[in-house]
């Protein structure tokens, strides 16, 4: 084997080892950390297993937000066109969280069918609606069932 060949082999070998390690890392990390998006009607239909972390998106129902007086626990319901899901969250809600606003939450379902959120996101811009939420707020005919004042441009 010439020295050039050996050098090339080393280069290719190094690249291969690096790539293999990266692929292995990426795949394991990927399989554990991909979060699917579900909307309230899919959860109500029982399509989502309990204790699996996922994202949920929908509108915070008017009049549903309840706060505990002595700690930071908040309960509200999140709805799409067909169904709604009770959500509980302990912590600080984002600035744009309010009733009638589209939000995305991260968390899992508990046994009683409540969504326990560990993170709640409302987007930066008032006019901006997360595309996931916008998509979730459509009925089977594909028409948006959002209150008209919420259908602001993205």
């Amino acid at each position: 084997m010439t020295r050039t060949r050996r050098r090339r082999l080393m280069l290719v070998g190094g690249l291969f080892v690096g790539l293999a390690a990266a692929v292995a890392l990426a795949l394991t990390a990927f399989s554990e950390n991909i979060l699917y998006f579900y909307q309230p009607s899919e959860i109500a239909a029982g399509e989502v297993p309990t204790h699996t972390r996922f994202r949920i998106g929908g509108l915070v129902e008017n009049g549903s937000v309840e706060r505990n007086n002595d700690d930071l626990l908040v309960r509200f319901t999140l709805a799409d066109c067909e169904a709604s899901v009770p959500v509980q969250f302990k912590g600080t809600l984002p600035d744009l969280f309010r009733e009638g606003q589209g939000i995305v939450a991260y968390g899992a379902l508990n046994e009683s069918g409540q969504f326990v959120a560990d993170e709640v996101l409302a987007k930066h811009d008032e006019n901006y609606m997360s595309p996931d939420v916008a998509e979730a707020m459509k009925n089977q005919q594909g028409e948006s069932c959002m209150p008209t004042n919420m259908q602001a441009k993205r």
């Binding site: 990266a22 990426a26 990390a29 990927f30 554990e32 912590g91 600080t92 809600l93 744009l96 930066h124």
Partner: protein, 655 residues
């Protein structure tokens, strides 16, 4: 009138950019020096035109000209003047204009420096940069013109997104874009190398300062972005693996690889095609970053549906630039003669090869995590997202060895280093690293979090090895070390400081969400935070509730913090301004959540040890780059056509 002048200047810039591209390339093909000579004046003219266009838009913002749709969408009469100017780059159209203006600045710099380059090379580089500029100008003029008028003009503008109303944001995008666009120069040099078929030490010596300059800007830009997120988002974090952040981080990773690979190509005449490929990739990722962030593609593929023209244009432009250069690469790269000497594992180039592999693989991992959700969505595979745990799992195992190698590489000689030399030089830094790395957290933040202490040792290792190198080289010398050697050492010290910062802040930082009524207090890490109440304050374009907090340690008052909640008048948007007590060893950080029953508020309290070290380290690295850049050897007049082998007067060359 002024906006029309700006619009017209953009059109003229397009004409000049076309000339800057076509004529020199023709001259290059036909070896006509008169055509080659056109490049520099055309670049200067294009700079003037884009300068006028930029000034026109800035003036429209300054004068609150709401008949310009872009101004109306992003400004407001109550916005302070400096934010009105910064609003020029507050959204898509203006960002593109900033991008092009900065590109023309770089072109101007290349034109000014072109006397140190052979005319053929300088003109070819300018032609490639002109071509990129043509692409951007066409895109701007046809799909995203910032000068579009609207009638009737609204009485008041919609205001700049409050998130962007921060001093960090005034300088962050220009710095970031200077970095992105700076890689265009490296890209242009790479294309020139492919066209002329020459990658020699002269070529690398021309390319290196440009690449380093771009890297310095990008480093500062990314760092400012992180600092801004910490100040402005109210979450006490400094990096969120947000797609927007990743978009700026990927070119940085590949650019860092490029800097190191250029060093090897200059000193040893090897890795030539790899260096060229890296230069192309760095620019490709910069383009990706530009488009992804401001064009809404990242938020969702649906953004393409709202404006198909933009989406199609971006994809086509990307395909032409990257596809074209990769095709050229495939055709021309095999001709670069490979070095004939093998790369020894125990040599500086051997370790730099590993450095490149790690950096590129890390960049690929970030790219995968960033683009996969978009890909899955467009292929109908469901709406998914990839969170920070993925990135941490992929990124940290890939970068920790990198820092380890970095320390070893500093003391490694080119070609071959004997193992005993390494041992004799590395044991002192190793002991220092372990001692200091364990002692530092113990003395400041306490025990616990083994991974954080390991990270701290790693950071100290990087610093100790870099300093060992400098100390050893200085010993017995009268004159100063060359600036590029000092620059390298400083950049590596910066990495060490940075690593210490992230390790300790992730290992020992604390955060706490509490409900506090006036007079109540919460404690964290030995600090007592007392909430005194809120008061109402009116700002220029917002009203705010400001909370008063007093922080005590062992009963002694050490800081007063004023976090606030702002409501912006024009958009009705609410923003959190955090109250931060900045310190060398730790930050104390309070942000207001929301008003609860009574006068109580939900409050977030953070203890962030060593967080300043993160940005401090990054700035040290950037400063190291600047120092290396000021080395006088880059300003020597170029001698074209010198072979690599004959251009190695000093035996122990510097990286």
């Amino acid at each position: 009138m002024i906006p029309e002048i700006g619009h017209f200047a953009l059109i003229l810039a397009l004409g000049l950019a076309t000339i800057q591209t076509v004529v020199p390339l023709y001259g290059f093909a036909r070896s006509r020096t008169d055509c080659l000579a056109v490049a520099a004046p055309a670049a200067i003219g294009q700079f003037a035109m884009l300068g006028i266009a930029f000034a026109a838009l800035a003036f429209a913002f300054y004068g609150n000209d709401f008949s310009v749709a872009y101004v109306a969408a992003n400004s407001n009469t109550h916005l302070p003047w400096f934010y009105r100017i910064a609003a020029v780059w507050g959204a898509h159209e203006g960002s593109l204009l900033l991008w092009m203006t900065l590109l023309s600045c770089w072109s101007l710099a290349v034109a000014a420096a072109s006397r140190t380059l052979p005319r053929e090379v300088a003109s070819c580089v300018l032609a490639v940069m002109g071509a990129v500029s043509v692409g951007f100008l066409l895109f701007t003029l046809f799909t995203s013109n910032p000068f579009t008028r609207q009638f009737p003009p609204p009485a008041e503008g919609r205001d700049l997104n409050p998130l962007l109303q921060d001093p960090g944001l005034v300088i962050h995008p220009p710095m970031l874009y200077m970095g992105y666009v700076g890689f265009c120069v490296a890209f242009a040099f790479a294309i020139t190398a492919l066209l002329t078929g020459r990658v020699d030490s002269a070529w690398t010596r021309w390319t290196r300062p440009w690449t380093t300059a771009a890297w310095v800007f990008l480093t500062i830009g990314v760092t400012l972005g992180s600092w801004w997120a910490y100040n402005e988002l109210g979450w006490g974090g400094w990096w969120f693996w947000d797609p927007v952040e990743n978009a700026s981080f990927m070119p940085w990773l590949v650019g860092t690889a490029l800097i190191h690979s250029l060093a090897v190509t200059e000193k040893r005449g090897i890795f030539k095609s790899w260096t060229v490929l890296l230069a192309i990739s760095a620019f490709a990722l910069s383009l990706l970053g530009t488009f992804l962030v401001r064009s809404g593609v990242l938020i969702s593929v649906h953004a393409f549906a709202t404006d198909p023209a933009r989406g199609v244009y971006i994809l086509a432009f990307f395909a032409i630039v990257i596809g074209g250069s990769l095709l050229l690469y495939a055709i021309r790269a095999p001709q670069f003669e490979a070095g004939t000497e093998p790369v020894a594992a125990l040599s500086r180039e051997g370790l730099l090869l590993l450095n490149n592999i790690f950096l590129v693989v890390a960049a690929a991992g970030v790219l995968l995590g960033t683009l996969y959700p978009i890909l899955a969505d467009s292929l109908g595979m469901g709406r998914i997202s990839v969170g920070p745990p993925y990135f941490n799992k992929v990124f940290i195992p890939l970068t920790a060895p990198l820092v380890l190698l970095m320390g070893a590489a500093a003391v490694m000689a080119w070609k071959r280093t004997r193992a005993e030399v390494l041992r004799s030089r590395l044991w002192v830094p190793l002991l220092i690293a372990i001692g200091l790395g364990v002692a530092m957290p113990l003395l400041t933040v306490g025990a616990g979090a083994l991974a954080a202490i390991a990270g701290c040792v790693l950071g100290c290792w990087a610093i100790a090895t870099a300093l060992e190198d400098v100390v050893r080289r200085c010993r017995g010398r009268r004159i100063m070390l060359p600036r590029n050697v000092l620059g390298m050492a400083l950049a590596h010290v910066g990495v060490g400081v940075f690593v210490i910062g992230i390790s300790l802040v992730s290992g020992f930082g604390g955060e706490h969400d509490v409900r506090l009524a006036p007079g109540e207090s919460a404690s964290m890490a030995g600090y007592d935070f007392t909430f005194l109440g809120t008061r109402h304050v009116e700002g220029p374009n917002f009203v705010a509730e400001v909370g008063d907090f007093v922080v005590r340690k062992d009963g002694e008052q050490i800081a007063e913090l004023y976090p606030s909640k702002r409501r912006y008048n024009a958009s009705g948007q609410t923003m959190t301004e955090s109250g931060i007590d900045v310190g060398f060893w730790r930050d104390l950080y309070v942000s207001l959540g929301e008003p609860l029953s009574g006068d109580a508020w939900s409050v977030r309290i953070y203890h962030r040890p060593f967080i300043r070290w993160i940005w401090g380290g990054a700035f040290l690295s950037a400063f190291g780059g600047l120092l290396a850049l000021s080395d006088k050897r880059y300003r020597r007049r170029a001698r074209a056509g010198k072979a690599v082998a004959s251009d190695r007067p000093r035996k122990t060359a510097y990286a």
